[in-house]
Structure formats: structure tokens, C-alpha cells
């Protein structure tokens, strides 16, 4: 007889996969439902930047601190899919230079190690940088393969006994007579068949889609889908991540990955996140911005261009000023006990998001178990495909 509490996670992105591992290790029986392939939503389409936190340390100290803490953890537990070569913040004009003081102060506050470089030192490190640069700072940035990062959490979760249902779309959340969420109905898209399962708790980890799942039981989540464009070029023109030393702006980060460099991104509002068109004028803007950081981009060929919808926590105002941190929502107060939503955050902080969500789930269900994912090296992502029972 299995007396484990049952947890159903909706969404197979970074957060869902990391949460499957965390809850399964804490003694839950986890089932994860993803309507497509693992990582087919926002997670797969990330820039792949392992943030040092430097991008946020001035205006969003909380996000900056979370990033550097999780950056160090992921470098230990997910080495198999991370290129860790560091990064630079480069100043190209006087306004960038004056931002440098706020940057070093913020970095110090967040605990991010930086080193100031002269223009000459920076060019020696990365010969393709814009020769007009005025100064630079080193940061511990890296780059990762998105699908493989999610799969490595999922592979480890499966070894502990979690069950993954990919190509299974949740169609309905079921309730008991008293109104408690008690399970869900899903459509297996391979066979076109509906199935039902029961669960003691349902966690909505669908990121930019969180509002759609919440709407199934008439509750709301203040998530603001905020897409941005990214463009990949066919030459690895730098080895380190190159950030513009300025307040977060369009096209301010160039990330090396495999044989490519990727420039991103923009930030705008879009309601239907199932399909977001790639706009030519945004691609053109990315090309110009990338060439400001590394002029040789002008001679490289675009290899791909795509959109990805960040799940930012909604508030009034410009999308750039929205926090990059995350929030857990317990829907009990809204009349849907048994449903919890996790959204916001960054790929870099997915393990921490899972930890905090699992803390809330354990507290709600009275399960006295602590997080054990800080120093557990993840299994080979390929073992996600290990036959069940192995």
C-alpha cells in the first residue's frame, strides 16, 4: 500500500522538473503533466544564460542575490550541461561608465564577485569586443543547454520514483464537494484519450500560462506574460557572456553557446502566449545591438530567431521594471484549497523556486521534510529515458 501524499505538477519546464525532484525526495509521490515535450514552452526558449546576478544587482537586489546563490549551486549539480567561462559587463559610453559605480555597489551588496578591467585588459581577454569600450567588469556568468538542464532534474526525479506524463494536457481540475482541489483530468495527446488522477495537492508550474490553469477553477494569478526576441548567429565570436554595463535594456546580453552567439532580448506585452510572432523590426534591433557589443556580428549569419514569453509577476508600469524574482500563490484564500501556483523567476533560480514551493506544499500538508537538492549532483539527463523500474 502506498501511503505517500500525492502531488500533481502541471508544467514540464525548469520549475516543474526541479519541483518534481524536490517533492519526490521529500516523500511525495509525484506525477508531472506536460502538454508537449519537456521544455517546449518558455524554458526551452531561454537565452541559456546562467546569471551571475549582475544584470539585476542595481535595481532588483532580491533577484540578484537569488541568481548568484543558485549560479553557484547549479555549477556544482548540473555541470554536465553548463559552459562556465565567466562574463563581462562592458561600458561603451560615459553613461555606462557612471552606471559602473552603482553596479559595483549592487554587486557587492548581492555578493557577486567582480573585478574591474581596463579597456586594454578586456580586449586581451575577448579580442572581438567593440574596440571603443571604456572599461569592463568580470562576473561569474555562464551558459547552459536548456532542454538538458530540465531533463537532468527530470532524470533524477524519475530515479527517485516521480512519474512524467509528457504530451498530456490537463483539461480539468476536479474538486471534492467541499471545494478542495482533489485531482485532475488530462488528455493523452499521443492516443487522444482522457484520463483522470487524484492528488492531495496540485501545483500549477505553467509559468506564462499560469493564468489559464488558474482560470479552470475561477481563481487568478497576477502573471504578466512578457515576450522577448532572441537571435542566434553562426559564429562563436566570444567565449564569455558579454553584458552591456547599463540599466537592463533591449539587446543588452550576448551569450556564447556551442558554435554560436545569441543576442537578446526585447520586452513587450502579449496576451496569447501559445504563438508569438517573431517581428522583423525586433530582429533588426537585435542585430544592431549585438554589433555594438561585438562588431564582428555584422559578418556573421543569423542562424535562428525566436520568441520566448517570460512569466513576470504583474504590477503596473513598464515591463523592464518588473521584478525577476518569483512568487508562490496559495489559492486557498481565493476558494481553491489544494491548488498552489509558482511563477515568475529565472531559469537560473529554478531549483530555489522548487525549494520554496515544496516548503509551502509541505507546510500545507503537514509533511515535516526538508529540501535536499542543494548538493545533489544531478543524474545524466539521458537517464530521463531509462526504462521504468530500472
Amino acid at each position: 500500500m502506498n501511503s505517500k501524499p500525492h502531488a500533481a505538477i502541471i508544467g514540464g519546464g525548469f520549475t516543474g522538473c526541479a519541483l518534481a525532484l524536490d517533492l519526490q525526495m521529500r516523500g511525495f509521490q509525484v506525477k508531472l503533466f506536460e502538454r508537449g515535450e519537456i521544455c517546449a514552452g518558455t524554458s526551452g526558449r531561454t537565452h541559456g544564460l546562467l546569471h551571475s546576478g549582475g544584470r539585476y544587482c542595481v535595481d532588483d537586489v532580491e533577484a540578484g542575490r537569488e541568481c548568484i546563490q543558485e549560479n553557484r549551486i547549479l555549477r556544482k549539480i548540473a555541470r554536465q550541461c553548463i559552459e562556465f567561462n565567466g562574463g563581462l559587463f562592458i561600458a561603451l559610453n560615459d553613461s555606462d561608465v557612471s552606471y559602473g559605480d552603482r553596479f559595483t555597489k549592487g554587486a557587492e551588496e548581492c555578493g557577486i564577485e567582480t573585478e574591474e578591467l581596463t579597456a586594454g585588459q578586456a580586449i586581451t581577454l575577448e579580442p572581438n569586443l567593440n574596440p571603443a569600450l571604456l572599461k569592463a567588469y568580470t562576473v561569474p556568468d555562464g551558459s547552459f543547454d536548456p532542454l538538458r538542464l530540465a531533463l537532468s532534474f527530470a532524470a533524477t526525479a524519475r530515479r527517485y520514483g516521480a512519474e512524467f506524463y509528457s504530451y498530456c494536457e490537463v483539461t480539468h481540475l476536479s474538486r471534492t464537494n467541499s471545494g478542495r482541489i482533489s485531482g485532475l483530468e488530462f488528455l493523452n495527446r499521443h492516443e487522444n484519450q482522457l484520463h483522470e488522477i487524484r492528488a492531495d495537492v496540485v501545483i500549477n508550474a505553467t509559468g506564462a500560462w499560469a493564468g489559464n490553469i488558474a482560470a479552470m477553477v475561477n481563481v487568478t494569478v497576477p502573471v504578466r506574460p512578457t515576450p522577448g526576441v532572441m537571435v542566434a548567429y553562426d559564429q562563436r565570436l566570444v567565449q564569455r557572456v558579454i553584458n552591456r554595463l547599463c540599466i537592463p535594456d533591449d539587446g543588452d546580453i550576448l551569450v556564447p553557446q556551442r558554435r554560436m552567439v545569441l543576442i537578446g532580448t526585447t520586452s513587450f506585452d502579449h496576451d496569447d502566449v501559445d504563438y508569438i510572432p517573431v517581428y522583423h523590426e525586433q530582429i533588426k534591433l537585435m542585430h544592431e545591438r549585438a554589433a555594438e557589443l561585438v562588431p564582428a556580428v555584422k559578418n556573421a549569419h543569423p542562424r535562428g530567431a525566436w520568441m520566448s514569453a517570460r512569466p513576470l509577476i504583474a504590477s503596473q508600469g513598464d515591463t523592464r521594471s518588473l521584478t525577476r524574482t518569483f512568487r508562490c500563490f496559495d489559492h486557498e484564500e481565493q476558494g481553491a484549497p489544494g491548488l498552489i501556483t509558482i511563477t515568475g523567476g529565472k531559469a537560473t533560480t529554478c531549483r530555489l523556486m522548487a525549494e520554496k514551493t515544496a516548503d509551502l506544499v509541505c507546510q500545507k500538508l503537514g509533511v515535516p521534510a526538508n529540501c535536499q537538492t542543494h548538493d545533489l549532483e544531478l543524474d545524466s539527463y539521458r537517464q530521463y529515458y531509462a526504462r521504468a523500474g530500472n
Binding site: 521544455c39 543547454d145 532542454l147 504530451y167 517573431v278 537517464q383
Partner: protein, 243 residues
């Protein structure tokens, strides 16, 4: 949009579990510069929610979206429409060959991924090891080499294109042998020689080089299989004379 849109018909392979195969035709308005995967995603979003397909990164790092487009293996996220058809033309989309079909365009990569683990294939290696040996020497830093994700995206397209993999699923296939070759180059692990030196290893290859032709990412599995044969022979000769 910079140019006039094209009218293109997508003929898409459809099959749900235990059901028969058919093709569905979707007449689409497309920007000739957009990618095949973008149109497939649009078919799912606006025309037919039951369509299943694999995709994740949309920029050729994850290797999930390999399909056969008009009969040829393509990584659909980086294949523009204008490379595979013309205004008024057709785009026939089918799942990869030589893998079990789960539904529609989704194939089961499980066995393939597990074989890559048997070849102890590392995804992140030094920049130097990540490049082909005949490429020009890459940048190195004072305190050692940089790290880089390797070229192989594990998309399975080389297995799909391989005429030998079509005749037997026992054949390890180009991606696995190329992985074993890279592991051997980095570690001299003798297990890689025993993995390759089998009827269903390097000796099964017909050197058709279809694998190298469809590889979207410079792996050159055809060359690697030939080089692995040399490594296997060298090791046998060495063993013979050291008896």
C-alpha cells in the same frame, strides 16, 4: 514583413497510438524567411490542437525538432521556408525514420539517448576538444582552456538518414559511433574500441556519408566512423605484436 507572403500547403504526417497513418493538408500563408518549425507551431496553435511535435530551444542547441521535410532530414527551427519550397508549393513533413513513432511527428528517442550514455559522451568539453581536429586552433586562456557544449545536438537526424540503420535497429548508427570516437579522442578509453569493434559497430557502415550530409552541426559522423575504424585496426595490430 519585408516581402509578400507565400501560399504554401503543409502535408503533415498523422498517426495516433494504434491508428492508421494519413496526411493532413494545411494551406498556410507564410513569410518565406520564417522557419518551418514556426509554421508547424502555428498549425498547432490555430488549425489543429491535436498535432504533436517535438521542439524546445528554437535555435539549434537542443536537437529536439529534427523532422523529414520533403524527404530530407532538417532541423526545422533553423530551416527557412524558402530553402524547402516556393510560392504555391508544398512542404511534406514526416517524423524521423528508424525511431519508433509515438504520435504524429513525435518519435521515441529513449533507446538512442541511452546508447549515447553507453558511449560515455560528454556534452561539455574543452573548447579545443569540441572542435574538429582539422579546424584552426582556437583561443585558449592563461589558466587553461575554455569550456564549450559539443557540436552534436543528439537530434537523431543522422540515424534517420542512414541506409544501414533502416535495415537493422541493432546497428549502433552514426551518432553513437561518432560519440564513441569523441570519447576515445578525449580519454583513450578502451571500452570505446570494444563498443565499436562489432558487426553492428563501425564495420556495418557502408560509408554512404548520408549522416554527414544531413548533420546540422559540423559533427561529420562519416569521417569519425572511418577514423574510428583506423583506431580499432591500430589497436588490433598493436595487440597482435605485443602478444
Amino acid at each position: 514583413m519585408n516581402k509578400e507572403n507565400w501560399h504554401v500547403t503543409f502535408d503533415v504526417f498523422r498517426q495516433k497510438t494504434c491508428q492508421s497513418v494519413h496526411f493532413d493538408a494545411f494551406p498556410m500563408d507564410v513569410d518565406p524567411d520564417e522557419y518551418v518549425l514556426d509554421v508547424i507551431e502555428r498549425i498547432w496553435a490555430f488549425n489543429d490542437r491535436s498535432l504533436t511535435f517535438r521542439h524546445a530551444c528554437h535555435h539549434s542547441t537542443c536537437g529536439a525538432c529534427g523532422m523529414r521535410v520533403n524527404g530530407v532530414e532538417k532541423l526545422t527551427c533553423i530551416t527557412p521556408i524558402n530553402q524547402v519550397t516556393h510560392d504555391g508549393g508544398k512542404v511534406r513533413v514526416e517524423p524521423l525514420r528508424n525511431f519508433p513513432i509515438l504520435s504524429d511527428l513525435v518519435v521515441d528517442m529513449g533507446e538512442f539517448y541511452l546508447r549515447l550514455d553507453d558511449a560515455k559522451f560528454a556534452q561539455v568539453v574543452t573548447l579545443d576538444a569540441a572542435c574538429l581536429p582539422f579546424e584552426k586552433k582556437q583561443q585558449v586562456r592563461e589558466n587553461g582552456d575554455f569550456e564549450r557544449l559539443v557540436d552534436c545536438l543528439e537530434c537523431g537526424m543522422c540515424i534517420s538518414a542512414c541506409p544501414v540503420a533502416l535495415t537493422t535497429s541493432e546497428y549502433l548508427g552514426p551518432a553513437i559511433l561518432a560519440a564513441a570516437h569523441q570519447t576515445y579522442q578525449q580519454t583513450n578509453d578502451p571500452e570505446m574500441i570494444s563498443l565499436a569493434d562489432k558487426q553492428d559497430g563501425v564495420w556495418r557502415c557502408h560509408s554512404a556519408y548520408e549522416c554527414t550530409a544531413v548533420c546540422p552541426s559540423n559533427v561529420d559522423p562519416g569521417w569519425r566512423i572511418m577514423d574510428l575504424r583506423k583506431i580499432v585496426l591500430r589497436s588490433q595490430i598493436h595487440k597482435f605484436f605485443s602478444r
